[in-house]
C-alpha cells in the first residue's frame, strides 16, 4: 500500500488521450529538486513561487525528450499545500509516459487515484464537504481500477501472475520454514532449485515489463475498434455509446479521416474505443491513409465492433469486410445499425446457419439510441467471459508497471543474496518485498498465507 504522505508524487494532470499539450504534475517535498534534475533552463530551486519557465526536459543521458514550460508553486501556496511543479509537454502519449517514467527514476512515486486531492485535504487546502466528494471519488476510482486491472489480466496473464505469486509463496514458505523450524523435524527443498525458480520468475516479469516499455499500451483500457463502411454510422454509434457529441458526425461519407479515441467505462471495465475511417477502396490519397490506419488499429486491438447499415449493405459485402478485418486475436461484435429502417433483418440473412463465420449479433439504431445498452452489455460480457484476448493490453497500468519493476528489483537482490551466501533471513526479506509488490497487482498477501502454506504442506513441530 502506498499512502505515505511524505514522498513526492507524479502523475499526468490532464486527461489521457490526444490533446495539444499534456501537463505533468509533481507534488511533495522533493518536487522542485526532482524537476530541476530533468529540467534544463533556469534553476527552478532558485526561482520565486508562481513563476513560469521555458526549458527542455532531458533524460539521464542528456537526450532531449521535449521542450517544455515549467510552472512553479512553492508550498504551501499550491493546490496540495506542498511544493508543486507543473510541466507542460507536447500532447504525445509517448513523450508524456517517457517524462513520467523519468521523474519516477529521479525519485518521484506515481500518484494514487485522488492522491493530489487527498494531500490538498490533509494539508488543509480544502473543506470537509469538498473532501466528502473526494472520498467518494477515491473509493470508486481505485476500486474500478482494481477491477479493470483484473479484467485486463484475464486471458492468460492473470493466471500467469497468480501462478508466479503462488510459486513465490511456496519459495517464501520454504525459506520461512527453514528459519522458524530449523531445529525441528522438517525438510527443505534444495537451494539451486529455488535459485532457478527466481530466475524463471524474473524472466517472466521482464517480459511483462518489456511489453510496457515497448509502448504496446500507453493507456488504460481494452482496445476496441469501431470499423465499418463509410456512413455505416460508426461515429454516431460512438457518440451513442459515450452519450455525447464527440466525433464529427455528418452525412458525408468519409468524414472521419483520422482515428478518434475515447475512453468508455462500462460497469467498471475500461474500454479504449477507437473510431476509424470507413473502409472502402479509397479514392483520394488522404482517405487511403485513413483506411490503412484503420486496418492497423484493428490489427492491434482486442475487440472489434463492426458496424454496417442494414438498409444499404449486402450480406456478401459484410462477409467480405469481416474477412478483411478479423484476425485470430480479436473478438468481434457485429452491430447491425439502422435496425429501425429494416426491423425484420435477421442474422441468418448475413451469416447462413451452415457458414463457418459466426459473430455476436447486435441489432442497434445508433441515431435513435435503440439497443445501445445491449451493445454495452455485450462489450462488458465479452471481457468478463474471457472471450477477448487481452494479451496486447497487459501491463497497461503504470502503477502495475511500477509494482512489477519493484518486484523485479527485489528478486534481483534475492539472487544477489543467494550468490553472495547471505543468510536466508535477509534473502527472505527481499522475497517478501517481491511478494508485496506482486500483491499490489493481484491483491494482498499476508504472513498468514505463508504460515498457512507451511502448515498444510510440512510436518512441523514437537
Amino acid at each position: 500500500m502506498s499512502h505515505h504522505l511524505n514522498d513526492t508524487i507524479v502523475a499526468l494532470a490532464t486527461p489521457p488521450g490526444a490533446g495539444a499539450i499534456g501537463v505533468i504534475r509533481l507534488s511533495g517535498p522533493e518536487a522542485i529538486a526532482i524537476a530541476d534534475r530533468a529540467f534544463y533552463g533556469k534553476s527552478l530551486s532558485a526561482q520565486p513561487s508562481h513563476t513560469v519557465h521555458f526549458g527542455s526536459l532531458r533524460n539521464e543521458q542528456g537526450r532531449i525528450l521535449d521542450e517544455v514550460v515549467a510552472t512553479l508553486f512553492v508550498g504551501p501556496r499550491s493546490y496540495t499545500g506542498e511544493h508543486v511543479v507543473e510541466v507542460s509537454c507536447h500532447g504525445s502519449d509517448y513523450i508524456l509516459q517517457e517524462a513520467i517514467q523519468l521523474f519516477v527514476r529521479l525519485g518521484a512515486r506515481l500518484a494514487n487515484p485522488g492522491e493530489y486531492t487527498l494531500r490538498a485535504f490533509l494539508n488543509g487546502r480544502m473543506d470537509l464537504s469538498q473532501a466528502e466528494a473526494v472520498a467518494d471519488l477515491i473509493a470508486s476510482s481505485s476500486r474500478a481500477s482494481h477491477a479493470i486491472a483484473m479484467q485486463q489480466m484475464r486471458g492468460g496473464f492473470s493466471d500467469e501472475i497468480k501462478k508466479l505469486r503462488q510459486e513465490l509463496i511456496d519459495f517464501a514458505s520454504l525459506i520461512e520454514l527453514e528459519l522458524d523450524f530449523s531445529e525441528e523435524d522438517v525438510e527443505f527443498a534444495d537451494r539451486s532449485k529455488l535459485e532457478a525458480l527466481v530466475h524463471r520468475i524474473q524472466r517472466i516479469i521482464k517480459a511483462l515489463l518489456d511489453s510496457f516499455q515497448l509502448g504496446n499500451v500507453l493507456k488504460n483500457g481494452v482496445s476496441t475498434v469501431i470499423a465499418g463502411r463509410p456512413n455505416a454510422g460508426k461515429s454516431t454509434l460512438l457518440n451513442a455509446l459515450l452519450n455525447e457529441e464527440r466525433a464529427i458526425v455528418s452525412e458525408i461519407a468519409g468524414t472521419t479521416r483520422d482515428t478518434i479515441e475515447e475512453v468508455l467505462n462500462i460497469k467498471g471495465v475500461q474500454f479504449r474505443i477507437i473510431d476509424t475511417a470507413g473502409i472502402r477502396d479509397a479514392t483520394d490519397a488522404i482517405e487511403a491513409i485513413g483506411v490503412e490506419k484503420t486496418l492497423q488499429k484493428v490489427q492491434s486491438s482486442a475487440l472489434l465492433v463492426y458496424v454496417f447499415d442494414v438498409a444499404a449493405t449486402q450480406p456478401e459485402e459484410v462477409r467480405a469486410d469481416l474477412e478483411k478485418l478479423v484476425h485470430e486475436n480479436i473478438h468481434v461484435l457485429v452491430a447491425a445499425n439502422k435496425m429501425d429502417l429494416n426491423p425484420y433483418t435477421k442474422q441468418e440473412h448475413y451469416f447462413p446457419k451452415d457458414s463457418p463465420a459466426h459473430y455476436h449479433w447486435v441489432p442497434v439504431s445508433a441515431l435513435n439510441k435503440m439497443n445501445v445498452d445491449y451493445l454495452k452489455d455485450s462489450l462488458h460480457d465479452a471481457v468478463l467471459t474471457k472471450k477477448v484476448n487481452l494479451e496486447s493490453t497487459i501491463v497497461a497500468n503504470a502503477r502495475h508497471y511500477e509494482a512489477l519493476q519493484k518486484a523485479y528489483e527485489s528478486l534481483a537482490r534475492v539472487l544477489e543474496g543467494l550468490s553472495a551466501g547471505i543468510t536466508s533471513d535477509f534473502v527472505a526479506m527481499d522475497i517478501r518485498a517481491a511478494l508485496h509488490h506482486l500483491g499490489e497487482i493481484t491483491g494482498e498477501i499476508s504472513t498468514d498465507d505463508l504460515l498457512g502454506n507451511i502448515f498444510s504442506r510440512f510436518c512441523i513441530g514437537k
Binding site: 485522488g114 481505485s142 523450524f181 523435524d185 533471513d425 535477509f426 526479506m429 518485498a433 513441530g461 514437537k462
Partner: protein, 621 residues
Amino acid sequence: MFPTYDVIVVGAGHSGCEAAVAAANMGSKVLLATMNMNTIAQMSCNPAMGGVAKGQIVREIDALGGYSGIITDHTAVQFRMLNRSKGPAMWSPRAQSDRMLFAAKWREMLEAHPNIDFWQEMVTGVIVKGGRACGVYTSLGLEIQSRAVILTNGTFLNGIIHIGEKQFGGGRAGERAAKGITEQLKELGFEAGRMKTGTPPRIDGRSINWDALETQPGDEEPGKFSYTDTPRLARQLPCHIAYTSQEVHDTLREGFDRSPMFNGRIQGLGPRYCPSIEDKIERFADRDRHQLFVEPEGWNTCEIYVNGFSSSLPEDVQFKALRKIEGFENAKMFRPGYAIEYDFFPPTQLKLTLETKLVSNLFFAGQINGTTGYEEAGCQGLMAGINAHLAIREEAPFVLRRSDAYIGVLIDDLVNKGTKEPYRMFTSRAEYRILLRQDNADLRLTPLANQLGMQGLQERMQRVAAKQEAAEEIGRFVRKASVEPGQVNRYLTGIGSQELTQKVKLHSVLIRPHVDLQSLRQVLPELNQFLGNYEQEFIELAEIDMKYEGYIERERERADKMNRLENVRLSDQFDYHELTALSKEAREKLTAARPATVGQASRISGVSPADISVLLVHMGR
C-alpha cells in the same frame, strides 16, 4: 480483610506472575490470586524457555523490566543459541529449565516485592459496576475490591482433560478446573470459544537406555536471557534425540478408535504446528519416523519430558508405543500425556492495551486470549500489568508497534485478526524481523519502559547508552582503519573470499560475506587490542550494524512508512456507517473491530486500500 487494591491479578502462571510484577514495579498495589500457591509459575508443558521467536520475546520481556529472563538464567540446566548459522535476526536463545527451581525462584522474587499480596482461592467472577471492573468474587463468597482486574486463567476455565476414553475436569494434571468466570463474562456479553492443547507423557530417566540416543549438548559458551547481571551456566545437562518408527506408528494406530481426537469428543481446535503424535502420523502418513527431543526436567530429578510425543491416546497405548522406541524398550512412565480443552475469549474483543472493549479496567492476558506458550503468555501479562496501572491513573496507554517488538506483533495480530487455533509466535509473523533481534531488545525497549517509570530500569539505561556508544566507537574504528593484503589474504583465501590486491579500509573487508570480526581479530593485532576494551555483546551489535547496514536501513524505511499510518488515530465514537464511500464490508468490519489507528484498520481483513484512503481523508487531518 482486604484493602482496595490497584490491580487484582487472577492466576499465577507465566502471564499472571509477569502481570503482578509489572503492575507492582510501576507502583501499583497488587493482589495475586491463585487457586494453589504451590503451583505458582508452573511449567505445565515442556521445561524450557525461549526458542525461535520465543527467545526474542523473553529478551523483550527482560528489556521491559519483566522477570522471565532473570528467572530462566537462574534456573537453567542448559542453554543454546538456536539458528547460529543463520543471520543475526534469527539467533534465538533457548534454555532448558529446572522445572521446580523455576517455580521456586518466581515465588521467591514475587514474595520479595513489597507491592504484591497473595490470596489462595478460586476466583469465580469479576465485580463490574457501571461498565467498569472493580474487584473479584471468590468461591468463599468474598468480595475483594480493586481498581482494575487482570484475568490470566490459562487452561483452567472449564478445563477438561482427556486421556483415551477417560475425561475429567481439570486445569492441569492433578489440579481442578476453574468455574464461574466464563459463564459470568458471557452474561456480560463476551463471546467465548474452546481450544485444545496437549502434553506428552513424563518418563523415568532411570529406565532409558541413553546410549541408544543421540546427545544434544548445550552451547560451549552458554549465553543468557537477561540484560542484567545474571549468572552464566558453569555446567549443563544434555538433551537427547530419539526417533519414532513404523512400528511405533502402527502401535499408536491401534488405539485410534479410542482417541478423543478422532472420535470427535474433543471439539476445540488445537495448534497445527504442535500436533499430537497421533495427529502427525495421521497427517503425514508418508513419514516413516518423527524426531523426539528427550529433555531433562531438572538437576535433581530423573523425570524426563518426551518433546514431540504429545498424545491423548489411552495410557496403555502410549506406554506400548513408547516402548517400541529405540532406547525406550524398558521405559517406565511417571504419567501419561493428555489433551486439555479449555475456554478462551476471542481476542478481537480486546483493545491493543489488552483491556476489554466491553468492560473498562478489565484486562485479559495469556492463554485466555487463545495463545500458547509461556513466552507469549508472559509478555501479555507484562503489557496488561503496565496498562492496568496506567489505566487506573488515566495515563496514556503503552502500546508497542509491530516494528518495535515481537510483543507488538503478537498483540496486534490477536486484536486485529483474532485466532482460531492456539497462537504461537513465529519470526515469519513479523514484517520487520531484521529490526526485532534478540541482541537489540534492550536498545529497542528499555528506554520506553524506563520512560513509563518502571522501577529498576534506571541503572540499565546506563548500560543501554554504553552499548550504543560502544557500537558507534567500534564502527568508527573499523571505518577508519586500513588493512594490507599481507595481513588478511591468508584468512580470506581460507574462507573462499577474493584476495586483496591493495591496501583497503577494514570496513570493506568486514562487509564481505563470511567475514567476521572474531576471525579478523586473530590476524589484526591492532583491531584485537582495540576490541579488547569492549564486551562481546557490544562488539556483536557493532558488527551486525555494519555488516547488514543496507538491509537494516531498508527494513527501517519500510517500517517508517507503515508507522505513518499507525500515527493516524481513529475516534472510538466514529460512525462508519455514515461513511458511504467505504465498502459495505469495510463499514461492518470497522464497526465491529473499532481500530485505534488507520494502520490497525489496514490489517483488518475486508478493509481494502481504497477504504484506507477514505479513512485517511476523513480522519487524517
